[in-house]
């Protein structure tokens, strides 16, 4: 039972986790280096996807569907998050000449 039980091909869980890791690293790195708020939102989405993938893979591995259900919830919440995040980005950057998060520093302590 080391692989995921797909008829025909047996993809080992390490493969799923590797993909998830790569996706997460891309997202995290992009979040850290990009200055465009839209790009940063997309990077966050990448990290969401990586986390969901890991959830689903572990759920299959353990044989507990709870993890997959959790992934669906996460997708739903992510959709809501994107809707709110985009709205905020539009509101924040509409009066500005360009969309650059480094320009938004009004709340500095």
């Amino acid at each position: 039972m080391s692989g995921v039980a797909v008829p025909g091909v047996a993809v080992p869980i390490q493969a799923y986790l590797a993909v998830a890791l790569v996706l997460f690293a891309i997202g995290a790195g992009g979040l850290a280096v990009r200055r465009s708020p839209l790009a940063m939102l997309m990077c966050i989405e990448l990290m969401w996807g990586a986390a969901n993938l890991a959830l689903v893979a572990f759920a299959r591995r353990i044989g507990d569907m709870g993890g997959q259900v959790m992934a669906f919830f996460a997708i739903t919440v992510a959709a809501a998050e994107v809707a709110i995040g985009l709205a905020l980005v539009v509101l924040i950057f509409r009066p500005r000449p360009r969309a650059d998060v480094d320009d938004v520093q009004e709340l500095k302590g």
Partner: protein, 655 residues
Amino acid sequence: MHGQQAGQWGWLLAVAPAAPLAASLILAAFGRRLSARAVAWTAVTAVGVAAAAVAGAVAVYLSGGLLRLAPAGWWWQPGSQAPGLGVGLQGDGLSLWFALIVTGVGFLIHVYSVGYMAGDPGFARYFAELTYFLFAMLLLVLADGLMGMLLGWANVGLASYLLIGFWHHRPDARAASMKAFLVTLTGEVGIVLASGMLWGAAGTLRFAELAERAGGLSREVAVAAGLLLLWAAAAKSAQLPLHVWLPDAMAGPTPVSALIHAATMVTAGVYLTARMHPLYAAVPQASLAVAWVGAASCLFGAVVACGQTDIKRVLAYSTMSQVGYMLMGVGLLAQMAGLFHFFTQAFFKALLFLAAGLVIHRLQGEQDLTRMGGLARSMPLAYWATWAGALAMAGIPPFSGYFSKEAVLEAAWSRGQTGLWAAGTLAAGLTGFYSFRLLALAFLGPGRGPGGSRGVQQAATAAGHHEEPAVLRRAMEVPVAVLAVLSAVGGLAWVPGRTGWVPRMLEPVFGTTAAHGPAGEAHGAAGAVGWLPVALAAAGACLALYLYGPGARAAGRRWRAPAGLQRALAEGLYVDLAYRRTVVEAVVHLGAWLERVAETVWIDGSVRGVGALAALLSSLLGRAQAGPVRRYALGLLAGGAAVVAWAVWSTWSAG
């Protein structure tokens, strides 16, 4: 049968304090919107209801019932961990004895106040406070334990504070109210400490249970509690060395002086020591200390009263002196004698104050005896009332004071306490002197004011007559007349050797020995000794009339005391000065020191330190909140990575 009656009539005890309380609340809330007539009727009716309730309770008691109102659901009920702490009401002979005087004299003085305070802008406030006092005093005497008594005790103190400072635009009234409150407050500390001791040792604060367990107390506890309660009694009853507040308390309206500072509240110390008689019976030394404090105050007050010139201060020191007799009686375990003197003193002292009030009222606030004189013709009622009061206070038979004072002195003699007897006898002589000095200076001879008081008096008389409706004048005169009669015949309540009200009320509480003492035959042997105080009092009275009476000045008989003595007496033998030099200045210096050090360094320093610390922390943390969004994101990632790293590390090290 007793139980049945207790259940049936116990509510009378609740009515007595509740009626004045209700009136007080009504007047405090709506007094300003009510007419003076409505205010007066509310207060007088409430006090009348209370008096009727007490009279009913007395009737039940005399027919053999013991009234009791245990703490029911309507009152705070302690948990089972604290038995004996509840606040209930009881109506035994001693409680009802006091309640009878409080409501009876209280009723007369309320009526008198309607006339005396008429036209005062604070008319409604006055009655709200006076009825509040009556509520608190009834709670004090009707409570069935030290806990409830302390509640009443503290509340009468507050009422006294409010009423002494009633004319709060006068600085002397403000200072006097503060002084009275603070001095009597030290006594409350004594009660609290004694209550703690007794509760720890006996496990109860209820009087009935305390009486049963008093004999089993350890000596140290009994002596300490007895002395602490004596301290409290001395503070409330203006006994040495805590009497200094009483003369100043005369800054209040005269009916207040009559009710609170002569007839009722100042005798709370007598009530307390009489109520705790099982405790004092167990430790004769503490009991004797009570008697000696009483005797010393009795003599001290009588001496100082001879040298006062303010009519109300003379009466204040005389109150101190008369309360001293009561404490002497109670301390000698002749409680019935002491309480009988309380009974008669309430009448004649209230009478003297109210008569003085008539004079002060007529003279528009003049209280200086040296500026009065010759009022006998224009104020016959006040004159004859003062005669009755002075004769009763001096103890001239058959006026009431004679019987009660004799009972106290006889108790001292028959118990072999010659020192106490001598002090009391000497004070009796002085009583005769200062009573009749007051009478002579105020009413006899020519006017003594600069230019004669006749002019002032005539102007005042004219003013008084045309602005005062007859009903208000009668409201003041009728109580004076009633009290004059009671002062004259009040002694019949207990003619020695016969039964009367006093034994019937009080013997069930104290037992028969409290009347004449164990040596019944000494009663008869006192004959010649018994007449000595009367003879001294009569001599003092004659001397006063000779020195200050009609024609004394014309004949050049005015005796001049040495200036030093005169000054010492006027200053109350410098007790106030001693307090100022020691206690007051020490406290003032302590306050100044605290302001300099504690206030500026400790309190301000710590407050400013807290502020500075918050500013420092915020400037540090603020750097982390500089605004760059991507740095926040990096921080989040780093934090997440740290959590994961910690989880992995702990899993490996565990597995």
